[in-house]
Symmetry: C2
């Protein structure tokens, strides 16, 4: 028998509660303060006693070396799914995979306003109209829903929590799988360009700040359990995943002290991103020109 319940995105009142809040099933969230209602699903009562099971796919777009991530609750009857950092050029591939896997795509999410590719979120919405786009409120970009630090994004019984990790851009966030008895172990951090494998995003445009980036990574990512899997928005050397523990030890920039890090970032002498003047304006409006 199918029982209806609601799927919420809600704020916690204090950043310190990231780790301490007990995370019951979405339908029993009444003690918490809801900030936004994101949709409705159905579930079976039997599924509620089963552990969550993540269906996970990492997808690569070669031209911009971008990773898109597909996550779904495979035990939920509707298999609600989300895409993190989809790219316009690979939307058809991603949606075909969603269909083949029998998933219901619910959210298309960005970690930040990208400067090196056009987001696929707008295109996805034209092809699957029920999908809601999500980006941080701090990004000042357009989307259907805006998240703030401490918000939780549920898909089925699994959730991502939102952590503010500005420094590459002002509005960068990291999405981290939740902490709790029915959540995933080890946790997974989708770090965007804040933390790359053995690297990090540049800090010389879009409100970037090496000072802020250092604080973001050290306070919001390096405080996660060391076995937390790090899934960045890009990789240029063929790495697919790292861990918090590895990056704390071996990241050639962020394992250093703050002043050394700031010096490294000030002396990168990077060229102007060739896609920036096209990508940023488009990404500020979800990847589609306003009509």
């Amino acid at each position: 028998m199918m029982l209806s319940f609601r799927c919420f995105l809600f704020s916690t009142s204090s950043p310190s509660s990231y780790f301490s809040i007990f995370l019951p099933k979405p339908h029993s969230f009444l003690p918490f303060t809801f900030s936004q209602k994101l949709g409705s699903y159905t579930t079976s009562s039997s599924a509620q006693s089963m552990p969550s099971k993540l269906l996970f796919r990492q997808l690569f777009e070669k031209e911009s070396s971008t990773y898109t991530y597909l996550l779904a609750d495979a035990l939920h009857p509707e298999k609600p799914a989300l895409l993190i950092d989809p790219v316009d050029k690979t939307v058809d591939r991603d949606l075909a995979l969603v269909k083949e896997l029998g998933l219901k795509l619910v959210y298309a999410i960005n970690t930040h306003v990208h400067a090196d590719h056009v987001t696929g979120t707008g295109l996805i919405k034209t092809k699957v109209p029920d999908v809601k786009s999500i980006i941080s409120k701090a990004s000042n970009a357009k989307a259907d829903l805006f998240v703030e630090p401490g918000d939780k994004i549920y898909f089925g019984d699994i959730f991502l929590e939102v952590r503010a990790t500005p420094g590459h851009t002002l509005g960068c966030v990291t999405y981290v799988t939740g902490d709790g008895p029915n959540q995933l172990q080890p946790r997974m951090a989708f770090t965007g360009d804040a933390l790359l494998i053995r690297g990090c995003g540049r800090t010389d445009f879009q409100g970037g700040s090496s000072d802020k980036l250092y604080d973001s990574v050290h306070s919001q990512i390096f405080t996660l359990p060391k076995d937390t899997l790090v899934y960045p928005a890009h990789d240029y050397k063929g790495f697919t995943v790292s861990t918090v523990g590895e990056e704390m030890l071996y990241n050639p920039r962020l394992s250093k002290d703050k002043e050394t890090f700031k010096n490294i970032m000030q002396n990168l002498n990077l060229s102007y991103p060739k896609m920036m003047d096209v990508a940023v304006p488009l990404n500020m409006v979800c990847g589609l020109q306003e009509t």
Copy 2:
């Protein structure tokens, strides 16, 4: 206290025993027939009561779109590791990662004699002399150790079993993580070029045969549990993993009947691989010119 035990690669007497053999720890393998002794390690007695834990990394080489896989037994005190299908150009990256992760690289393994890139096995052996190279006996290539169908390759308490999957080349094998109470769930199949995600390797050179490839995939890979993860040697569209169940349903070539498959393969009209005349002779000798 450290107890020494041996790490073996051994043959089973019958292909039908792939699924039925009870797989105890390597040190209690005496009832079985050993075919080759591959090295020695140490372990702690406490580790023997713990489940095996795989450390796994998928690594990408952009030019040939090759995936290299790093696997290690993270619970074993020595963290014995192996690399599947390393590429010469990314050997330094791979060995640096092995070092950072504190692994002891034991084997460098090929699924087949590649025609599109030079294997990294020879170069790895010059940099880490204790590493043993492995390839199938049927490949007729040079290596330290040769495997045949039914052989098992142990690294710590985890093993790969060898399945013959000819058709792309005569000597292609698929390495599958073992079946057993202490082995990995879901299983993982490293399919080389026999089965790609929504595709397969060409069958028009190196002893290739579309007839053989169809039989190989259907008898040796599609008979695995449907949730078995498929990790191919290449992907050209940005996919990183699939499952046996998915490929049985959605592989545009191998989900068809045999005659249709053979017709598809006969009409691909592919160009001659640009690296073939360099790569194949080198790969027949483990990636290094003989001195």
